[in-house]
Amino acid sequence: MAEDVKPRVKVPKTAAAGEVITIKTLISHQMESGQRKGKDGNLIPRSIINRFTCDFNGENVIDVVLEPAISTNPYFEFDAKVPASGEFKFTWYDDDGSVYEDTKAITVN
C-alpha cells in the first residue's frame, strides 16, 4: 500500500427524497506519473490511483478511469441523486492492488 493514503469525502448528512446533492472527494496520493526521474537518474515507476467509483445503495453514481495526468491528491466533484436514505460507498483502486474505501450515510427526511 502506498504511504499515507487517506480518503476524504464531503456529503450532506440529509436530503429530500429525489434531491440532487453535490459530492466532493479528495484522496492523498502522490500519483507518480512514471515519467519523472529520481535522484539516482532512473525513472520513478508509475504508481497511481487508476479508478474511482461512487455507488449509492449498490447503484452506480460515477465511475472514473484515471490516467497519470490527474494531479497529486486526486480531487473529484460531482452530483448524485438521492432516492432514499442509504449509504454512499466510495472506492479508489491503486496500481499496487490496494483498494481504499470510505462510506457516508445520508438520511432522507
Partner: protein, 139 residues
Amino acid sequence: MIFSRRELLIVGAGASLTMALPIMTHAATSDELIATFTGGAAVAEGGITLTAPEIAENGNTVPVSIDAPGASEVLILATGNPNADVATFKFGPLAGSFVASTRIRLAKTQDVVAIAKMADGSFASAKSTVKVTIGGCGG
C-alpha cells in the same frame, strides 16, 4: 518534498513530460485515443461544455470541469501531454447531473478536449486552450 534543481527542471517541463528524452514506449496520440473511444464515428462540435482556466498558474494542478447533458461517458484529453489521455467519466443511473470536476496536469500550453458519448450513441466534443505558465519561483 525537496527537489534538486535538475528534478525541478523535469517537473517544470511538465509534471509528466520529458521533452529531451526519447519516448521509449509508443504513447497513443489524441487522434488514436479518440478513434478508440468513438469507434471511428463522427464527432459533432458543441453540445457539451468544458471549463478550464485560460491561464494556468502552474501546469501541475489545473482545475477542469465538464458539463455534458445526456452523456453516458466523457473522455478528457490533454493533446499536448506525452500521454494525451487524462480521465474517462462514466455517469451511472444515480448521477445527479452530467457535471464533474477534477484537477489535471498539463505539460505545456495546449488544447484540452472533452469527447462525450451520448445516450443515443452519437458523439459531441468541446475544446479549451489553456496557457500554462511554467511559473512559481524557487522552492
